[in-house]
Symmetry: C2
Subunit: 399 residues, 2 copies
């Protein structure tokens, strides 16, 4: 597996990354630009691409995931990018700086696509974003994604729904031509944000047990099925506290926590990773978009009896409101009365509400209790009845 450490320092002013030499001083031997070609799990040996063999007592699999590249003709052409890790970003930046870009087409309107719309528009680039699905950020309610599309339009980004990319060719006026089921699109840059592919080939070659999701199976201490082998981050599963199941949820903050837990266990300070509730957020122009827990569809799939409610409230007290909107959707379980999930959208306050609801999910609070939670109230930050309270009380009425 490649380690991209050290060789990128010069290219990124804001990142402070230590060189292998600096690491060595702290007693850590770092190999960069080196692939692990194979593992002899009986002997405890790694076979490296530089021809050497590295013995180990304990091994941590942190092979992550890669951005998916669509399998269409021209997907590898110059000017076609994906974005997932630091190297992807540096490649994209170099391309923009060296070649310039007037028009970009983004394939995939997930949250990476949304974030990149904003980033590219801020560089003055004309942006279109297409998806095979009818809405961007499809995990969110249709009322909320309507607001996202409005925000895109307000910022001169065209959203092209239900369209399939077919091929990429050399263009005339623009460097690339993207052929789609809805016609051709010109662009200097095609950026694919169509999902990730976990890097588990090495783990599979080692015979590590895989979970139902296809990612590496771990326990609460980040141990894999093999003694002395840990796994953390986007290559392994994580326990979803709301679903009560091990799932695949490749997000950076989760990876960080898993790394810490594995490190503690390896260092002799036993620790367990308690799991996640599915909290996530992104910003697209002036909109905060966030969610936690399960959607109705997911909840039904996991055997719950989901009931939901969607309200439009305010992120500030009514006398201070200047037209801001705060959408809150809650999903509860009819059988247990517990909260199962939440979604929020708005110019401000959406992440705040999802953060609080994430703690409520973590603790397994009932919808009833959420209707009376003691939250810090002051008119610049919300109403005496917060949008969370109003949504919870409305949901309770339906349960």
């Amino acid at each position: 597996m490649p380690y991209y450490i050290g060789d990128v320092i010069k290219e990124s002013k804001r990142l402070v990354i230590r060189t292998p030499e600096e690491f060595k001083k702290t007693g850590i031997d770092v190999k960069i630009k080196t692939q692990v070609d194979g593992v002899d799990i009986q002997k405890g040996s790694l076979y490296l691409s530089d021809g050497t063999t590295l013995p180990y007592d304990l091994l941590v699999m942190a092979t992550g995931a890669d951005a998916l590249r669509l399998d269409i003709p021209g997907a590898d052409m110059d000017g076609v990018h994906v974005i997932r890790n630091l190297m992807d970003t540096l490649k994209l930046k170099a391309y923009l700086n060296e070649q310039g870009c007037r028009k970009a087409v983004l394939i995939g309107a997930g949250y990476i696509g949304m974030e990149m719309c904003e980033a590219l528009r801020n560089l003055g680039i004309e942006v279109k974003v297409m998806d095979i699905l009818p809405r961007p950020a499809i995990r969110w309610d249709a009322e909320f994604t309507k607001m996202i599309v409005e925000e895109l339009v307000k910022n001169q980004v065209e959203f092209i729904p239900e369209t399939k990319p077919l091929a990429i060719e050399k263009g005339k006026d623009y460097r690339l031509k993207l052929l789609t089921s809805g016609g051709d699109l010109n662009a200097d840059l095609v950026l694919m944000g169509v999902g990730t592919k976990r890097s588990t080939a090495l783990a599979e070659s080692m015979g590590l047990a895989m979970g139902e999701s296809g990612a590496i199976k771990v326990d609460f201490r980040q141990k894999t099925s093999r003694e002395g082998v840990y796994a953390v981050g986007d290559c392994c599963e994580v326990f979803h506290k709301v679903a009560g199941k091990w799932v695949y949820f490749p997000l950076g903050d989760i990876a960080n926590k898993q790394g810490r837990v594995a490190g503690q266990n390896i260092g002799g300070y036993p620790a367990e990773f308690p799991g996640i509730v599915g909290a996530q957020a992104f910003k697209v122009f002036n909109l905060e978009v966030a969610a936690t827990g399960l959607t109705e569809e997911e909840a039904a799939k996991f055997g719950f009896q989901p009931v939901s409610v969607l309200i439009w409230g305010l992120p500030v007290g009514r006398p201070m409101a200047k037209g801001e909107k705060l959408g809150v959707k809650l999903v509860g379980d009819k059988t247990t009365g517990k909260l199962l999930g939440g979604q929020c959208i708005g110019e401000k306050g959406a992440v705040q509400r999802i953060s609080s609801l994430s703690v409520a999910l973590w603790a397994g609070l009932s919808v009833d209790e959420i209707g009376y939670l003691d939250l810090p109230y002051a008119p610049p930050f919300g109403g005496a009845w917060d949008a969370i309270h109003i949504a919870a009380q409305s949901l309770r009425g339906k349960m």
Copy 2:
């Protein structure tokens, strides 16, 4: 008790208040500008200031609290104001509109004082704020109140600590002269924000049991010691879930919730008010200031073994930071490992963190768990390790 409904509609454009006639159409008889002079609790009768007697089956005490007016000479002079309810505000607005104001002195640097500093500065008035205590918003840590004082100074507000107001006299160049232990201050307006006084005289005359705090004793259904008599809001106590005690905590959002619970019980839908955790927030210029749970001093008083930590984090991911600061203080209990309280300050994100910590307190989460909470992460809203995580892990190390 007076009811200020209806007669203020014309004066306040943004408030929609129904008139007694409008209420009558919905089957509710509202009497305004009428005092309850006495209650015969045996007969179930109210004796009103208009000479009439009103029989009742069920009675709700919602007499609230009044702003304290310092007992110093001149405290009742024209131009000396308090601020607590709608009428106070309208009186103050009328005074400012009719008489004008060049300089204001605020007595009391609690959160009402802080909010009024901002409101008056926004009107272009020169503002000084004094307190007998050494720091504003004294419930917050000294590191945080230092930041508040800096914010005041940045906005041309002078904070005068450890100074006692002695008397108010007629002034020369300005309409009032405030004599203090630190010298004389000129002002056109003196505003007292020195605390509240619960209105419990009527309740006491009725023989209702009072709690240790001196406010009306209620149970979780908002029932007082007398059958058929409920109490809600700033005249009664509330259960503090962290302290495990009934306390006096006169805040508007709590009053709203208590009113709803009493209404449900009266309407035949039994409900209990689960209590509070002490969440509160205010804004002063560009600073969010918030707290929840117990301070170290309060925690010690309630028999806990408090340990605390204070960290300075970021409200955004490090690569996006532009010099913003987010202060987080956490208090935990050495004996149980649980969180007892938190305080936050910053240009943004402070209320978000306190809202989440309030839910954690509500659910009785341990400091250990808080260090691993799944919160919605994206760089515009925080780091992969949120300031909450960093503070909790730091506190755990001390416990």
